[in-house]
């Protein structure tokens, strides 16, 4: 089908790992956290590897990547990795090089941390930098929030890990639906239908099928659709399948905050994040209302949660009614589910806290 070389797949991690990892592959016995951002893993063979974790903007210019390579060359024999949360990890065997390396990266403006009971890097998405679907900008939100909570990245003083995620639309690219703190871009008004363009460029059945709440029905007359605005909850999925249904609206778009999700199985099962704040305005470039709200929730959590309790575990223990009381976040009709599994969230019990 083609002349060029295809389907050869990615380079093997085996050719990328530092020798100490290759040699002790699968033999690791335990680890210690020497200081925030610095891990020591010890092998059954006695060998040790040191990891220095460094915060990254994720969006990086090749110029910066090359500088990071320089660091890895001078301290790590040219080996490094990235984490599942997009941090940079420098991998060393010589403990004496740890502090010099840290000095060097800090000089270059990179924070060291993200280990243990910290706030690590924010998993996020493209936003206005690269996605047509974005109701908000991910990168600016991440930058603005991390500027504020960086002390939590560089320390390990929280009750437990706090995983933050940002997604710029309901497609939720990133684990926004299962994060301790999740920020998601939302629309608040139904899409506008550009009838002529729709007739030309879109498939009506796909549009109808795309709507989670069955708010769209075919328009019998022309080849088009009719939106039942009462049933539309602005997810934008019709726009995803049909460009002729734009939904972006500077006046009403903004973000919502969900809380209490987790994915690990430690102690408690993975949990979905749940609605805390239905709407905060898009306020570029630094979204102050959103940053404040996030800080506020973190403070209440840090004050009230038991040691070792994830956000969601704390809320489950004290109850959601206490969460809203302690944070002072108003509880509205929007918080009450009315989608598919709604009745499973209703309080089918007369027992609740005042």
């Amino acid at each position: 089908m083609t002349d060029v070389r295809t389907d050869f797949g990615p380079p093997s991690f085996k050719d990328m790992m530092p020798p100490v990892m290759a040699e002790n592959y699968g033999k690791w016995a335990y680890h210690e956290t020497l200081q925030p951002g610095v891990l020591k893993h010890v092998s059954e063979t006695g060998a040790a590897v040191y990891t220095v974790r460094v915060g990254s903007p994720r969006l990086m210019a090749i110029d910066t990547i090359r500088e990071i390579c320089d660091v890895a060359d001078s301290f790590c024999d040219g080996h490094l990795r990235f984490t599942s949360r997009h941090n940079i990890e420098f991998l060393l065997t010589d403990a004496n090089k740890i502090q010099p390396l840290i000095a060097e990266v800090k000089k270059a403006g990179f924070p060291v941390g993200g280990t243990g009971n910290s706030i690590s890097n924010i998993v996020h998405t493209q936003g206005w930098i690269h996605c047509h679907s974005a109701a908000t900008d991910a990168s600016a939100l991440v930058k603005s929030i991390m500027d504020e909570v960086q002390p939590y990245f560089e320390s390990m003083t929280l009750p437990a890990k706090v995983r933050i995620a940002v997604a710029c639309c309901l497609n939720m690219c990133g684990a926004v639906h299962c994060s301790d703190l999740a920020i998601v871009g939302i629309h608040r008004k139904p899409p506008k239908v550009d009838a002529d363009r729709l007739a030309k460029t879109c498939e009506v059945p796909n549009i109808v099928a795309a709507c989670p709440t069955a708010a769209i029905r075919p328009n019998p007359k022309e080849k088009g659709v009719i939106i039942n605005e009462e049933r539309c909850m602005y997810c934008g999925n019709c726009y995803t399948v049909c460009p002729a249904m734009p939904i972006a609206d500077p006046e009403n778009d903004g973000v919502a905050i969900f809380v209490g999700g987790k994915v690990s199985n430690a102690r408690s099962a993975p949990m979905f994040s749940r609605l805390a704040i239905p709407y905060l305005p898009n306020n570029p470039p630094r979204w102050p209302e959103t940053v404040e709200a996030i800080k506020g929730i973190i403070d209440v959590y840090a004050k009230h949660a038991h040691k070792g309790e994830r956000m969601g575990e704390w809320i489950e223990r004290v109850g959601w009614e206490s969460f809203f009381r302690l944070t002072g976040i108003p509880f509205t009709d929007k918080h009450i589910d009315d989608f598919r599994f709604a009745p499973t969230t209703f309080r089918t019990s007369a027992a609740f806290k005042w």
Partner: protein, 394 residues
């Protein structure tokens, strides 16, 4: 073209202690016209609180059905160098390990054929190379393949699998997360590169139930390392923890969700093996004293995804325990069966989890030939609406 100095809002985001994406963009903008126009367009988005990209068009590389996200500005006259600003998704090495020489090669390619801006990494796991034009894509790909890199997935195909660092650096790894990820990725190159399914399908591999790749939330099929039988306790090490004033009772025993652990007066830590559900909590807190059991394998979970369309799903157990030895035939056969069944029954843009939900787990298990197990549910059904097969009734 927007003047460098005219981006006060973007400039605001250069301030502050956290590494700035704005600095990265402006740094590139000095050397690259596309990057420069990107900064300008972002400034406009901040001014107007509005995205300025159009729906992606189809752009690609010869022989591939995916791997490139076409992206066009809706204000091309204002930002001609960002009029086309496509993304290339490049398949990362498992565990995101790099040697600097390889990484530098990658940078060189993107200096020559792209904006020089990247995401390290995308949230599916790929290397994201941001900003190139249709005309350059084939050459960019050729140069990438020179450098040893292939494309990742996009569209209705198998998306780039990813894995936690696992055995390369983690004492908890019960399976070879990196090896499995690399093997599956190379085995299913065709599925990754040529969209042919109802929708996307994602695979993530975690070495243990801590799930450091969020596989349960972010992949249609999650492979999670675990063990059968009792976890292993080194009593000497337990005593060492106690000696070091670590609160074994308060931090570990009392927090065991199944109360499977008990601490004797003499400081021996006892386990009621049948009560342990392998949640990892005690191992996490006493890695020097507690290790996984010896019979290792994986729990296979299905269905995880984001909210669109029918609401978000977390993956759920479909195989409580599967041995995980190369060449992973059992896993691959199961994947094949699932894909075939999904392909046959799935509607367009219906994820596999949505399909199983629509068709019923019972039917799914029967047609996959999988044994029902209480491990697959938190609780049995509360409704009386279940089905009998013809051979079960008179």
């Amino acid at each position: 073209m927007a003047e460098e100095s005219k981006t006060p809002l973007v400039d605001e985001l250069e301030k502050g202690s956290w590494p700035s994406f704005a600095k990265e963009m402006k740094r590139r903008a000095k050397k690259n016209a596309a990057a420069k126009d990107l900064v300008g367009q972002l400034e406009l988005s901040y001014e107007e609180k509005k995205v300025h990209w159009k729906h992606g068009g189809v752009v690609g590389v010869r022989g591939y059905g995916g791997g490139v996200i076409g992206r066009y500005s809706d204000v091309p006259e204002q930002f001609p160098n960002a009029a086309e600003f496509h993304t290339m998704r490049v398949n990362q090495p498992s565990g995101w390990f790099y040697t600097t020489d390889v990484l530098r090669k990658l940078c060189d390619v993107w200096e020559q054929y792209g904006s020089g801006l990247t995401n390290m990494h995308g949230s599916t796991g790929d290397i994201i190379l941001l900003g190139t034009q249709t005309a350059k894509i084939q050459d960019a790909f050729n140069a990438l393949s020179e450098a040893g890199f292939d494309l990742g997935g996009s569209g209705s195909d198998l998306r780039t699998p990813s894995a936690c660092v696992g055995p390369a650096r983690c004492e908890f790894a019960c399976i070879d997360s990196l090896g499995i990820c690399h093997d599956v990725t190379t085995t299913f190159q065709n599925e990754i590169h040529r969209p042919m399914w109802p929708y996307k399908f994602k695979i993530k591999v975690a070495g243990c139930a801590n799930d450091c790749v969020a596989s349960v939330a972010r992949s249609d099929l999650a492979i999670i390392g675990t063990w059968k039988g009792a976890l292993r306790i080194d009593q000497e090490a337990v005593k060492a923890y106690i000696a070091a004033d670590f609160d074994v009772k308060g931090e570990v025993v009392d927090k065991c969700p199944t109360k499977a652990l008990s601490l004797g007066r003499d400081g021996t830590l006892a386990l009621a093996a049948e009560d342990c559900k392998r949640c990892m909590h005690c191992l996490n807190n006493m890695p020097k004293a507690i290790r996984p059991g010896t019979e290792k394998g994986a729990t296979i979970m299905l269905g995880g995804k984001a909210p669109i369309v029918r609401g978000a799903y977390l993956s759920w157990v479909i195989v409580p325990f599967m041995k995980m030895e190369p060449p992973y035939d059992e896993l691959k056969e199961l994947l094949g069966k699932i894909w075939e069944w999904w392909d046959e029954h799935g509607k367009s843009r219906e994820r596999v989890g949505e399909l199983v939900d629509r068709m019923g787990m019972g039917r799914f298990l029967r047609e996959m030939g999988l044994e029902p197990s209480p491990a697959m549910v938190f609780a049995p059904r509360s409704n009386p609406y279940y089905f009998w097969q013809p051979d079960e009734v008179k």
